[in-house]
C-alpha cells in the first residue's frame, strides 16, 4: 500500500509517460493555442485597441479552451480499456487518483503556457521581460484552478457518451472565478501598473484555488463511484 502522495506521483508519472509517448493532447492544445493567437492577431485593429488591452483577454480565452482539450484526455486514457477499474481496485485512496491526474494536467497546461505566453508577447509586442516573474505567477495560480476544476469534471464527464460536450458545459461556468482575476491581474501587469495593483486579484485567485482544491479533492471520490 502506498500513501496518498506517493500513489499520486506514480499516477502522474504514468500519465505524463503516456502523453510524452502519444503527444496527442499536448500537440492538439498547442496547435489550438497558436492558431488562436494568430487568428486574434489578424482580426485585431491596432489603431482601435491597444495591444495591452486586448492581450489579457486573448491569453485567457486561449488557455481556457486549450486546457479543456487536454483535460478531456485525462480520463479518456483510463476509459479506453477500463484501466480506471484497475486504479479503483488498487489499494490506494481515491484522492490519490485525483491528485495524480491533476499534477499531470498541471504539467500539461504549464507546458502550453510556456510556449503560448512568449508567442502572445511576440505577436502583440508586449513588454514581457520586466513582468515575466509576476506574469508566470498569475499563469501558475490560474493553471492550478483550471486544472483542479477540469480534472474533477473530466472524471465526471468521461463516464458519459457525450463527454466532449459535457466537459465544457460543466467546467466553463466554474472557470469564470479563476479566469476573471487572472485576466485582471494580467491586464494590470501588462499595462505597466505597479504590482501592488495586481495583488488583490492575485490574492483572490489564490483564495479560489484553495477553495477549489479542497472542494474538488473531497468531491472526487463520489464522481467515480458507480
Amino acid at each position: 500500500m502506498r500513501n496518498v502522495f506517493a500513489a499520486a506521483w506514480l499516477i502522474a508519472r504514468k500519465d505524463l509517460a503516456i502523453e510524452f509517448r502519444t503527444r496527442s493532447a499536448f500537440t492538439a492544445s498547442l496547435i489550438f493555442a497558436l492558431l488562436g493567437i494568430v487568428i486574434f492577431y489578424f482580426a485585431w485593429d491596432s489603431t482601435a485597441v491597444a495591444s495591452v488591452d486586448l492581450a489579457p483577454g486573448v491569453l485567457w480565452v486561449i488557455f481556457t479552451f486549450a486546457g479543456l482539450l487536454g483535460l478531456h484526455r485525462s480520463f479518456g486514457v483510463e476509459q479506453e480499456e477500463r484501466a480506471i477499474d484497475a486504479l479503483l481496485a488498487a489499494p490506494i485512496e481515491r484522492e490519490s487518483i485525483f491528485i495524480g491526474k491533476a499534477l499531470a494536467n498541471l504539467v500539461f497546461v504549464a507546458g502550453v503556457q510556456v510556449v503560448a505566453i512568449p508567442a502572445v508577447g511576440m505577436f502583440y509586442n508586449l513588454p514581457l521581460g520586466r513582468v515575466a516573474p509576476a506574469l508566470f505567477t498569475v499563469a501558475f495560480l490560474a493553471a492550478v484552478g483550471l486544472v483542479v476544476i477540469g480534472t474533477l469534471f473530466s472524471a465526471m464527464a468521461s463516464n458519459t457518451r457525450l463527454a466532449e460536450i459535457l466537459l465544457p458545459m460543466l467546467a466553463l461556468p466554474f472557470f469564470v472565478p479563476i479566469v476573471i482575476p487572472a485576466a485582471q491581474a494580467t491586464a494590470k501587469l501588462l499595462s505597466g501598473r505597479p504590482i501592488g495593483e495586481a495583488l488583490p486579484w492575485l490574492k483572490l485567485l489564490a483564495a479560489f484555488d484553495i477553495v477549489f482544491i479542497v472542494a474538488c479533492t473531497l468531491a472526487f471520490p463520489f464522481t467515480i463511484e458507480d
Binding site: R2, L10, K14, A17, R82, A83, D85, A89, P91
Partner: protein, 201 residues
C-alpha cells in the same frame, strides 16, 4: 460461476472487487468488511472483459505500474516474473501493437503481479489461443496451490469444472445452483445447465 448473459455474474465480481458499493449488505473477506481495510484490496487480483491496460505503454511498463501501486518491493522483477508465467515474450512492445490474445495474457499477468490471495476472473479465457489458455490454467492452478481463492466466471463449462472446487449457476441475480465440482459428471452438468439457461430465457 456459470450463467447466461445478464445474470449478474460481472456485477457480483465488481462488488467483490470493491468497484461497486452494495445497495444493501456488505462484502466480507477474511472476516473483514471490504472497504474498511485498504490492506484487503492489496490481496485481490482482477481480470475483466476489458484488459484494463494502457495501450501506449509497454507490457512491462503496465505491469511495473500495477506492481508499484500495490506496493510491491521489486516492481520490475515482479512484473517480469508475472509476464514470464503467462508466456509473454514481447515485454517491451507497446500493448496496442500486441494481438488481442496477447493483450489478454498481459492483462492476466497484471492481475497476478501482486500474488493475490483472491483472484476475480471474468471470462479470462476469452480471446486466448490454446497456448494462452494453457498458460492461464497453469497460473490458476499455481495460485490455488499457493492458497489463493479464485472466483472464475466463464461460459466454458469444461475449463470451469476442471479448475473449480465448487461450481455455481447464477440466474437473475441469484445462485440457482451451488455444489462441489467433485459431485458432478461433466456431461450431466452440461445438459442440466443448458436446461436451466433455456428455462430462464
Amino acid at each position: 460461476m456459470f450463467g447466461p448473459n445478464g445474470a449478474g455474474k460481472t456485477t457480483l465480481l465488481r462488488l467483490l472487487g470493491g468497484l461497486l458499493k452494495p445497495d444493501d449488505g456488505s462484502v466480507t473477506l477474511a472476516a473483514s468488511k471490504l472497504g474498511e481495510h485498504m490492506i484487503l484490496r492489496a490481496k485481490i487480483g482482477l481480470v475483466s472483459h476489458r484488459t484494463m491496460l494502457y495501450p501506449a505503454l509497454t507490457a512491462l511498463e503496465n505491469l511495473e505500474f500495477a506492481a508499484k501501486l500495490y506496493g510491491t518491493s521489486d516492481a520490475e522483477r515482479a512484473a517480469r516474473r508475472a509476464l514470464e508465467r503467462l508466456r509473454v515474450e514481447q515485454v517491451n512492445v507497446p500493448v496496442r501493437l500486441l494481438s488481442r490474445g496477447m493483450q489478454q495474457r498481459v492483462s492476466i499477468a497484471r492481475a497476478v503481479v501482486n500474488s493475490p490471495l483472491l483472484l476475480l476472473a471474468d471470462e479470462p479465457y476469452s480471446g486466448l489461443d490454446e497456448s494462452g489458455a494453457q498458460a492461464l490454467t497453469t497460473v490458476l492452478r499455481e495460485l490455488k496451490s499457493d492458497g489463493a481463492a479464485l472466483v472464475l466466471v466463464t461460459h466454458q463449462l469444461n475449463e470451469g469444472l476442471e479448475i473449480a472446487d465448487n461450481v455455481a449457476v447464477m440466474i437473475d441475480g441469484a445462485f440457482a445452483r451451488y455444489q462441489s465440482s467433485t459431485d458432478v459428471s461433466r456431461s450431466e452438468y452440461a445438459a442440466q445447465y443448458r436446461d436451466m439457461v433455456t428455462a430462464s430465457a
